[in-house]
């Protein structure tokens, strides 16, 4: 299907998480890999962490078992416990920043932490 001629939003928040994940997958496969795409993805990951922290809770957090789909769509997602604390997003942001600034090489346990954080927060609906 063709892409729409003029998108409403240049960047969707979940897309930032997806781009960051793409970079992390590359690094997990080969920790010494480095290219512009990886760099951009890490930048996007940092923006993602900052944005969800600024919002106070992960985007679109809500119970998908809400009884009325219409109410859920119109009223927006109900308030729910944040799936992650600010600490988590700060920690992941730090990991991404360090890898980006090449102050340290990507370590697998850190990558795993960042991957799980992005997966969990970007898939909550």
């Amino acid at each position: 299907m063709a892409t729409a001629t003029a998108p409403r939003n240049e960047v969707y928040l979940s897309l930032l998480a997806a781009r960051a994940l793409t970079s992390l997958v590359c690094l997990a496969g080969d920790p010494s890999a480095w290219n512009q795409r990886i760099e951009d993805g890490l930048q996007d990951g940092i923006r993602y962490c900052q944005t969800i922290r600024a919002r106070g809770r992960p985007f679109l957090v809500g119970s998908s078992s809400a009884p009325s789909p219409l109410r859920r769509l119109v009223d927006g997602a109900p308030e729910a416990d944040s799936v992650s604390s600010d600490d988590d997003s700060q920690k992941v942001e730090q990991i991404l920043s360090d890898i980006l600034s090449k102050t340290r090489k990507a370590q697998l346990p850190e990558l795993a932490t960042a991957i799980e954080f992005l997966r969990k927060t970007a898939t909550e609906r």
Binding site: M1, P7, Y12, S14, T22, V25, G29, D30, A112, R119
Partner: protein, 567 residues
Amino acid sequence: MSNTPEVHPSASDPERRRFLCVLAETLDKLYRVDRLLSRQRTFLGTVSAEDSVSGVDALADFLDRHREELVAGSDAIVRFLRGKTSTEAERVGRVDALVDFLDKHREGFLAGSDAIVRFLQSRASNEAEGVSGVDALVDFLDKHREEFLASSDAIVRFLQGKTSNKEERDGIFATLHVLVARVLQVHELLLLIPREAALPQASFVLRDCFAATYPGASIVLTNFYSAYEYRFEDILKKINIEQEERGRLKQLKQGGDVLCQAFADRDNALAWAVLAHEYGHTLDEGARISERIVFGDERPKLSADHKSDWLVSVVAETVADFIAARVLGPASLMPILFLEMMQPQLKPPDKSSAGHPPTPLRVQLVREYLRDFGVVTADFEKDFQAYEYDYKWKVARMKKEEQETLNQLASSAGQVLVKNAPEIAAKVNGLRLRGFDKQNATNAREEAKVLHKTAKWGQPISSRRVRSDKKIFKALRSLKSGVTKRERAYEVIAAFDEMPVPSSEILTAGWLYKFSSFEAELMKTFPGAGRKADLEVYSEYVERTDRRLLKSLELAAVHAELRNRTD
């Protein structure tokens, strides 16, 4: 029959199988949502550059012409208003002229209505951008698809069993889960755009499965992936329709059952097994099976306590599961398992989910129930294992307290259901449904082979001969010219007769075909070796399979109808 490529020694590994299932289901749903949005685009239309007449122009033109016509007859109207019309013919003439006017202009107005829709559509979106709401959804999915494909080298490595570590595999899964979450999100938003109708084949399946007990139920498409059912009468009660009005609508108690299925599964016959489960709830409510199991023959008091409500709910789910399994066999479980595997995480147990026993328990009970009829589930084993792996993986990622709640729920439901399973089974068997048995399972396996062999030319599996070719040839060879009696010859020829294949076999064969072919299709979609991933390859496979199954169900229903005709 298996078309599994040999280059993957870990093909039986539940982790790998789980990845294949989730990847396949995601691409399947992505294609379906894409196609749905594409149809919506066609329906809504777009403002074309050559289209010089706007919707407003069309409306203005329509009113102008109407006004002119009215003014042209104003003298006569004045006479009419003042009671000075000379003849009855003139009075009638005015009315006729108006009718004539409307007739003449109706066509023109309808021609203008397309432009109106296009105009309104463009107004509904941001004019400066020139895109509609549907375009925005398409764009959203396109961007996520592109990002997902950016990891296609890693996906190829996963498919070929060449990932370097667990973190890489988890990362690939996470990218897949982000895509899944967005597809599901867009699917929920589809409620806001014009709704399509369910296909008639879905009703054919239910009619075939439930035969005599099936009075017909409406099937509507919804934005929920999990199907559900409701009675129209219950809705009327909730919106405070007066008692008297409800009395007039008594017939809706049976005919008013509404079964809901996901928008995206409109053409996906394999997913329709969930409708059998939902119709199971209808039968349960009608015969008060779960209520009787919990409360006995006494009707419960209006304010039954919370524990009783929970008991009725978990028993009702099992009744519906057994009913679906009785008519469809193991295929009745598959849409639920694939849907759950596709979800990025397990829903934390809460009040709304408490009425559903945990899925692994449901699977265990259904498999035991089917075993009593000699229906083994070996053909589905790899996918059951993949589901178990997926479930454990997700439970491990839940919060501690959520895990504890889930365990408590599973334990309580397990105690109740294991104890009540024989009674539930007996009640379901007493419904005298057209059961799926060992022979159906054998036939379905053969039909799945036909789907494989004839994949190139898309042959449907709507009918089969009453006797095997071997037996027919043997009987034909026994005919002797001048010796065999005419009756015997006709008897042998009658063996050429074909019977319609039951829907339960078509759906089971469809699932078996999918299990044995989707891995090869995924490998073609992500070929690796420097070749670009092409999601169209998988889309075409899904579309071909849909078409064959829908055609099979349609032809089988027509065939059965013709055989039942007495004229």
